[in-house]
Each structure stands twice: as structure tokens, then as C-alpha cells.
């Protein structure tokens, strides 16, 4: 290279340097790398696979698709083919993945010692439980909150084999079993909301927290197409403009727990106008309704204006396929009356076998488990109260898929029962209030990690059955409780007839006549069969349950699944969706309208004390016209003393305010009509 060529070369190099993107690229890279902190988690670079699953955390049983990357569940997508999910992803279904690595998960079996919990092996845990159970024969009790699973059959068979007692957590499913039993029926109540042209929700928050809410919401959507005229009218009657009422075509203000009385008031108007039913017990129903429930009486009792009641009765009578769905505003505590009264009304409307059907319950496949309705027969509230007060002995108390120390009325007494029972075993996946009080925790795997099944939640349209298989490896050293209990049974020398829970599910599929291989792929089985048995209307007109407590205001607890359910605390990914009108800082916010606030002498933003028959809580006041006069609305789901940083110590638990009263006729406790007093704190 001589001097000239060198000059040419260096000129070219300079020009090249000007043109080359390298310096710009380096500057850009510098800006990228200054923000590409090594401690930032890196996202995976693999393909996403989707696998079908029915959510057990979502009380509405919605089916979804779980997105799996590299063996980890990373997300939840809708499944349009699932009859209860219909393509939507509810907050609780999303929590199936959101909670998998929750800081609240119990990571291995734990034994309580004088200094706190210590980790033990599964073998040790099973040995301890087997020993305790064999010593406690005759004084074993188990509580289950799983309303749709066959795991209950294993538990019930084991407990029955030890002469113990088996309880289901209270809720809509128990209420439905009791209502049907009293009316001489058996099975499940199914609502054909898909074909209804007029839907009246009495109390039941059916688009958020009641029944098959995910499916109901999708049907609401189909009947209310965006930008077009609605093909069905939806009406909500209740004390609060909740998630259901806010989108319904009409909201009727009705006091908490008014569903039964409103249903009977409507029945009375219909019968006065000549409605008859060719049903057992009709004469006595008619007579009892005629003795009370005149529109003026109903207005006094429930706050529903007589003219509104008459108008609704006219609309119901004029509709082709009316449907009345009743329940507690917060999914529990209504006992059986609301359902019985609404079934009476549906019969009068000629909708039995049409909009409302009685469909078969799940067939039992485990010997000694008893029938479904037998398992729902006993009321857990008096039992737990008895344990707390030292009246009832429970040498071993086992709790599955439930958090009675948090999510029941008279919360303190329920929590005390956990302490008072000689030995408490929790199968919770999470360190919840009940697990924290347990002597032994044997953590269940989560839905995506275990075999499980889901049979027809309350209010589904037809019988449905889904089977889940493990889609991901267990995040921690947890096991499927049903399998654990099969193993414990065999250690106790009991033969429940199955070696694994999977075999139980397979037997169930066979009994139902469903294809195991398609169930295993996540496809739901459905059946159109319905019972034609006549219901007896005579018990439907029982007088309404009286108010509980002496307070000046009626209490309306409100459930929103993004805040949590009675079993599951707020899922981490929902934390941002909590509204200022539900939580202020870490203080629970209660709502009342301007008139109620004036009457009670409290102001917006003020901290107040609520005193109910079950206990007290402090809260901040938010003034909102979404609540009817004379009512204070309190969100359920806050005030956890266990769980994780997302929910522990956030707000107060409104369950504390509630007290349960017994209702000897139905044999189920009720707590949907509590009253509270309010005072500035």
C-alpha cells in the first residue's frame, strides 16, 4: 500500500464510518443495555401449548385453556367449547395460574410444634394422620368445601368407616339439596338461562358470584348484543347495585334476604289473577300465600314497591320463557327458603321442566360414601359452634377445600373451633386462617397439578362433567388429597375399592356413560336428561326468616371474585383491580347512600365502627347511591390474618359481623338478614 492508496483508503474509511450504522448501533445498544438489568427476570423463549381444564377455584366451574411454556403454566385463555366457560376467563379461573407460585402456598407437609410449623415428609404425615384417626374412631369429623368433586366420596367413605361425621360447607349447593329434599325431589336444580326471554334474579348475584356466573354472563352477552336490541330482559332485585344489577335492564331495590318474600308476593299476584299449577301441594301453597304476602305487606317487609311488584308479575306472566333465579346476595346464609319460594313461583309460571329443570345428581361410585344429598344433610354451623363451646367433641377435625376460620358467620367462634378440636388437619394448598390453626397441614396440589373432576355446579343448564389431569409438575411437594386419603384408608386397613383417585374418576365416567378418553383431553361431557318427578309445593310458602340482630341498618355483604372468595384470598394479579370504593389504603370501605349516611350521622370518608350480632369491624364510609336506603354494604374478602402480602392485613373481614340463626323447619342455619349498628369510631 503506497501513500496514495492509503489516503484513498482512509478517506473511504472515514466516509464509511459516517455511513456505517455501527456508531448509531452502539449508542442504541448502550441505551438498551443500560436498561437491560441482569436482575430483570428474563421471559422464556419457547412455544406456548394450550391444555384444557375446568377451574376448581372458580365456583362457577368454568372451563378454560391453560397456556404452558416449557412445563410451566404461564396463562389462562378462554375455551369456547366448555359449557360453563364459553370462552370467558373469570378472575378466579385466571387465579388457577396466578396462585400457582403464590407466596402463600404451603410447600410441603407441616407439623405444628411448640415453636411453630416444621416441615415433615409425606410418609411421616400419613403415619401421624393414620395414628390419630385410629385412636379417634367415633369422634372424627371432616368438612369439605368442594361442591363439585368426587373426592368427597372418598372422604365421606373414610369418615363413615370411622363412625365419624361428614359436613359440607354451606352455600347454594347445600341450600338446593335441602330445598329439593323438602319438596320431595332429588338431584340438582338447573336453570336454562340460554332460552329464557325474561330473567328475574332475586338476590342471587348471578353474573358475578352466584351459580354458574361465568356462563350466565356469556348468555347475558348473547341476549344483549352490542349495538342491537336485547332479546331478553334481565331484572335484578336486591339491596345493592352489584356487578349483576349494574348491567341488568332493571334494578329493583329490595332489602337483604328478601328473595323468598318477593317470590311469594309475586306468586300471590299471579294466583290472584288466576294462575294455577297442576302440582302436589298446590292448594296448601295457595292458601298459605293468600294469608300473607299481599303487595302492601311485601312492600313493608322488603322495600319493593307494590306497583313495581305488580308490574314485574305482569311481565313474568307475559313472557314466553320466564326464569326466576333466587339466592343469597352473597352466596351463603339464605338457607333453603329463597330457593323453595322461587321454585314455587317458577312452577306457577309453568316453567318446571322448561326454564327450570331437576337434573340427576352425581352417581356415587365409592362404597360407603352415601348419596350426595346425605353428604349435604348435616349443618356444619351448629357443629362448629358446639366444638368451639366445648359441647361437641372432635378428636380429629379435617378440613378440605374450605377456610371455615375465615369465611363463615361468627368467624371468631369458627376459628375457635379449629383451636378447640383436639387435633386439626388442613389439606389447604395455601397457608390460610384454618391451616394456620391446624396441627398438621397436608397440602393439596392445585387444579393444574392434580387429577380432579367437576360435576354440575348449582344452577348449570344441564348435567356436565369435566375431568382434570395434571398439566404441569407440582410447584412444591404437594399431593392430591384424594390420593392421600386413599393411602391413609389402606393404612387403616379399610378398602375403599380403589387404588388411586384416577380410578375413581374413571369409574365415574363409566357410570355416567361418558368417554374417558375425551374427558381426559379436557372435553366436557353433558347430558340433557332431566327428572319428571313432581315437586310438592306445600313447604314453599313458609314465613320469611326474621332479622338477626337489633341494629338500625340492614347489612348487605357483597362478594366480588377479584377480592377473593370465602376460600381463596385476593389473587395477586387482581390486586390492582380493587376499587377505592372497596378499600382505602388498608381500610375496608363500606357503602351507604346519602340518606342513610344522614340518618346514621356519618359522613363520607369518615371512619366508623360497625357492630353486628356476630362482632365488630371498623371501616371507612363511602357514600353511594348504589345502595338502597337503610342498608350498609360491606365487601367480603378482606381482613385476612393469614395468606400473603397481597391480602394479609388488608382491610377487615366483614364475615365477623354476621351471626347465624337456626331455622328448625328446614334444619339449615341462616344469616342473610343480619342487622348492624353504626357509630363513628
Amino acid at each position: 500500500m503506497n501513500r496514495r492508496t492509503f489516503l484513498t483508503f482512509s478517506a473511504g474509511a472515514t466516509a464509511g464510518l459516517m455511513i456505517t450504522p455501527i456508531p448509531w448501533k452502539l449508542t442504541d445498544d448502550a441505551s438498551i443495555w443500560t436498561q437491560n438489568w441482569q436482575w430483570n427476570p428474563k421471559v422464556p423463549k419457547r412455544a406456548i401449548y394450550f391444555a384444557e381444564m375446568a377451574s376448581k377455584l372458580d365456583p362457577s366451574g368454568s372451563g378454560v385453556k391453560v397456556a404452558v411454556v416449557n412445563g410451566n403454566a404461564v396463562g389462562v385463555a378462554g375455551n369456547v367449547d366448555h359449557p360453563l366457560g364459553k370462552g370467558a376467563v373469570s378472575t378466579m379461573a385466571a387465579a388457577e395460574v396466578g396462585l400457582l407460585h403464590s407466596p402463600a402456598r404451603v410447600r410441603q407437609p407441616m407439623l405444628k410444634t411448640a415453636t411453630g410449623f416444621k416441615a415433615i415428609s409425606w410418609d411421616e404425615a400419613e403415619t401421624i394422620l393414620t395414628g390419630k384417626l385410629s385412636e379417634a374412631r367415633g369422634e372424627v369429623a371432616m368438612v369439605s368445601g368442594d361442591d363439585t368433586g368426587s373426592a368427597n366420596e372418598i372422604f365421606a367413605a373414610l369418615v363413615n368407616g370411622l363412625d365419624g361425621s361428614f359436613y359440607m360447607m354451606p352455600g347454594e349447593t347445600q341450600s338446593a339439596h335441602k330445598a329439593l329434599e323438602m319438596m320431595g325431589g332429588e338431584g340438582r336444580i338447573a336453570y336454562d338461562i340460554e332460552n329464557a326471554d325474561y330473567v328475574l334474579f332475586l338476590g342471587a348475584d348471578a353474573l358475578e358470584s352466584s351459580g354458574t356466573s361465568t356462563r350466565n354472563a356469556r348468555v347475558f352477552s348473547e341476549t344483549h348484543p352490542t349495538g342491537k336490541a336485547a332479546s331478553a330482559k334481565y331484572v335484578y332485585a336486591g339491596p345493592v347495585m352489584n356487578n349483576t344489577a349494574v348491567v341488568c335492564d332493571q334494578w329493583i331495590q329490595a332489602k337483604p334476604g328478601a328473595a323468598a318474600t318477593v317470590a311469594l308476593g309475586l306468586s300471590r299476584i299471579l294466583m290472584d289473577n288466576g294462575a294455577v299449577a297442576n302440582a302436589k301441594g298446590f292448594a296448601s301453597f295457595k292458601q298459605n300465600v293468600a294469608q300473607g304476602y299481599a303487595p302492601a305487606h311485601v312492600e313493608r317487609e322488603t322495600g319493593v314497591r307494590a306497583d313495581v311488584l305488580k308490574k314485574i308479575a305482569r311481565e313474568l306472566a307475559a313472557a314466553k320463557r320466564p326464569l326466576v333465579i333466587a339466592g343469597s346476595e352473597f352466596g351463603q346464609g339464605a338457607g333453603a327458603r329463597a330457593l323453595m319460594a322461587s321454585l314455587g313461583l317458577n312452577v306457577l309460571l309453568g316453567q318446571m321442566g322448561q326454564s327450570v329443570k331437576i337434573i340427576p345428581g352425581a352417581p356415587a361410585v365409592v362404597q360407603g360414601a352415601g348419596s350426595e344429598s346425605e353428604r349435604y344433610a348435616a349443618d356444619v354451623i351448629p357443629f362448629l359452634k358446639g366444638v368451639a363451646e366445648g359441647r361437641d367433641g372432635a378428636k380429629v377435625l379435617m378440613v378440605y377445600d374450605a377456610n371455615p376460620a375465615y369465611g363463615l358467620p361468627q368467624t371468631q367462634a369458627m376459628a375457635k373451633a379449629m383451636d378447640k378440636a383436639a387435633y386439626t388437619v388442613s389439606f389447604s394448598s395455601f397457608m390460610d386462617e384454618t391451616a394456620e390453626r391446624a396441627n398438621l397441614i397436608m397440602p393439596n396440589s392445585m387444579t393444574a397439578e392434580r387429577y380432579d373432576d367437576l360435576y354440575t355446579p348449582h344452577g348449570a343448564g344441564t348435567a356436565t362433567y369435566s375431568v382434570n389431569k395434571p398439566l404441569v409438575k407440582s410447584a412444591f411437594d404437594t399431593r392430591t388429597t384424594a390420593d392421600v386419603m386413599l393411602s391413609v384408608a389402606s393404612r387403616l386397613g379399610m378398602d375403599l375399592g380403589y387404588a388411586s383417585f384416577k380410578d375413581v374418576l374413571q369409574a365415574k365416567a363409566t357410570r355416567l356413560g361418558a368417554s374417558w378418553s375425551s374427558l381426559r383431553q379436557g372435553k366436557a361431557w353433558t347430558s340433557a336428561s332431566a327428572s319428571s318427578a313432581q315437586l310438592n309445593l306445600a313447604p314453599c310458602a313458609a314465613p320469611a326468616v326474621r332479622a338477626i340482630g337489633e341494629g338500625t341498618l340492614a347489612l348487605a355483604p357483597v362478594v366480588k371474585h377479584n377480592i377473593g372468595t370465602s376460600k381463596v384470598a385476593m389473587p395477586p394479579h387482581s390486586a390492582g383491580s380493587i376499587r377505592d370504593t372497596e378499600l382505602s389504603g388498608v381500610q375496608t370501605v363500606v357503602q351507604m347512600n346519602a340518606k342513610t349516611a344522614r340518618m346514621s350521622g356519618v359522613k363520607a370518608g369518615e371512619t366508623v365502627k360497625l357492630m353486628g350480632p356476630g362482632g365488630e369491624m371498623t371501616a371507612q364510609v363511602y357514600v353511594s347511591e348504589k345502595v338502597m336506603t337503610g342498608v350498609v354494604a360491606a365487601p367480603l374478602g378482606f381482613g385476612h390474618t393469614a395468606w400473603d402480602g397481597f391480602s394479609k392485613g388488608v382491610g377487615e373481614n366483614a364475615f365477623k359481623l354476621l351471626a347465624a340463626a337456626d331455622d328448625p323447619e328446614t334444619g339449615l342455619s341462616v344469616w342473610s338478614t343480619n342487622r348492624v349498628t353504626i357509630a363513628t369510631a
Binding site: 396463562g75 370467558a88 376467563v89 352477552s221 352490542t226 349494574v246 376499587r579 377505592d580 347512600n593
Partner: protein, 274 residues
């Protein structure tokens, strides 16, 4: 104001306010889909720092509660989910000194390139919809939760602004799927591309599609006499439309004077002045 490109495709959301229950399923789905770190005691922590929550919470979709302000039986409430409007005239783009946000891809989605953003927050100040959020803190995923990150979106660092992008990765997936099926990726069928919020919503309040494509449902919906856009008179030309049969709701969509009626139809209206 400098003009922005016109595109043949205009990805649009139509939110039926009359169908939104305020359940928050869309927000939960969005948070998970886009790897937004779950925020422990989010509200308490933020409020204790003295900032209004809306400036501190990391969320791409906010649900506002509207009230008609009446008492007793005349009272009415509505919920309004608010993602990024993907404005046709995005003020955020004009002000960004780093070209970290742009509107130059077919479909009209306003991008946000995290590694380019140096956190001046001019865009946040200029966005009339408060659609943008700033990472004041390093995102923290409780131990193990990082295993649940999706491959879709990188985790953003402290110091950058982020916002909704209509789940842009889903557009990429939809286009790939079309290519594999031998279809034209620029002519996606209605429903082939759907953001996570629209998919999740139990009551189907959120419709999504190409508002310029007559085969997509949103094409008609946006022309509904009940359709409107937020703060339409600012001239931002949002790609998000709202529908409500209730006049008071439509009226709250813009800064109307007492004497003015609500815009009957927002499809063309005040796009030019502002």
C-alpha cells in the same frame, strides 16, 4: 400538528359500557398476559407515598366508575374500561424525544419501545387519557412467580414508561397463523386477533377488530348512533370506541357544557378541531 399516516387497517376496540359489570377480569387478564408484576399491598404502598394511585399503579387498563350523580331511585352507574386509545393523532408520539413511541405500523397501534425510553415522561404529561404509567420501582415478582412469565412481553425496568399495545404480540401470532394456513396476514378474519381483555370479558363487553374492514363486526358497531369516543373534541382521533344507550354516559365522554347535548355519533364528528 404534524399529520400521521393513514393506514388501510385500523385495529379498534368497541367497548359496550352497558355490558361492563366492572368485574375486573379484563385487568387481571391484561396483567398476566403482559407480565405486569403483581403488586403487594399495592394501594397501601402507593398511598403512603402520597401520590394519587393512578399515577403510581402499573396497569394498562383502568376501569373507571361513572355516576349520573342523581340520588335515590334515579341513580345510575356505569363502568368504563380504558386502555390506550391508540390515537390517530397521538400527542404522546409527537412529544417523545427518543422516538421510543411511534405510530407507523399498519393497523395503527401506537408502539412503545422500552429500551429506548429514558423516562422523561413527556408522553405521560401529554396523554389526555392517562393511559401511560411509569415504573417508579423495579418490578418484583415474588419468588417463583417469574416462572410464570409469558414469552410475549419483556419485563420492563424501573425508569421506563409503558402502556397498552392491544396485545401486539397476539397480532404477530395471528399473522403467523394466517401465513401457516396460506392466508393473507394483512386480511385477518374477524376474531383471529383479539387482545387478552376482550377474550376474557365474561359479559362480552369488549369487541375488537379492524374498523375499516366491513367483514369485521366493529365496522358496523363504530357507526352506531350510540357510539362515541373519549374527549373526541381534542382531535386525538382514538381507535377505541365506546357504546352506550344512556345519554348521560355518552355525555361524560367529553367535556360538554351544561347547555350542550351529547354527541349522537362519534365516528366522524370533532376529529379536526382541537
Amino acid at each position: 400538528m404534524a399529520g400521521f399516516k393513514e393506514f388501510n387497517i385500523r385495529w379498534s376496540m368497541v367497548v359496550d359500557i352497558d355490558k361492563c359489570t366492572g368485574c375486573g377480569a379484563c385487568m387481571t387478564a391484561c396483567n398476566k398476559e403482559n407480565n405486569i408484576a403483581p403488586q403487594e399491598e399495592a394501594k397501601a404502598r402507593l398511598e403512603s407515598k402520597g401520590f394519587p394511585t393512578r399515577f403510581k399503579k402499573i396497569e394498562w387498563l383502568t376501569i373507571y366508575e361513572l355516576s349520573n350523580g342523581k340520588q335515590g331511585g334515579d341513580h345510575d352507574t356505569a363502568f368504563l374500561p380504558r386502555p390506550c386509545m391508540q390515537c390517530g393523532m397521538p400527542s404522546c408520539v409527537s412529544v417523545c424525544p427518543a422516538i421510543a413511541t411511534d405510530k407507523n405500523e399498519e393497523g395503527g397501534i401506537v408502539s412503545q419501545i422500552y429500551p429506548r425510553c429514558f423516562g422523561c415522561r413527556y408522553c405521560m404529561a401529554s396523554c389526555p387519557y392517562h393511559a401511560r404509567v411509569f415504573n417508579w420501582d423495579q418490578p418484583i415478582f415474588p419468588e417463583g412467580m417469574e416462572k410464570q412469565l409469558t414469552p410475549n412481553v419483556s419485563v420492563r425496568s424501573r425508569g421506563v414508561v409503558e402502556k397498552c399495545n392491544f396485545c401486539h404480540h397476539r397480532l404477530m401470532y395471528a399473522k403467523d397463523a394466517a401465513r401457516v394456513a396460506g392466508e393473507d396476514p394483512e386480511k385477518l378474519a374477524d376474531g383471529a386477533y383479539m387482545p387478552a381483555c376482550a377474550e376474557a370479558c365474561p359479559t362480552g363487553a369488549i369487541s375488537f377488530g379492524d374498523v375499516k374492514n366491513p367483514e369485521h363486526e366493529v365496522h358496523e358497531l363504530a357507526k352506531s348512533p350510540y357510539a362515541f369516543r373519549l374527549l373526541e373534541r381534542l382531535g386525538t382521533d382514538p381507535q377505541v370506541y365506546y357504546i352506550s344507550k344512556r345519554e348521560w354516559v355518552r355525555k361524560q365522554g367529553d367535556n360538554y357544557l351544561e347547555s350542550e347535548g351529547a354527541a349522537a355519533h362519534g365516528g366522524n364528528g370533532g376529529g379536526q378541531h382541537g
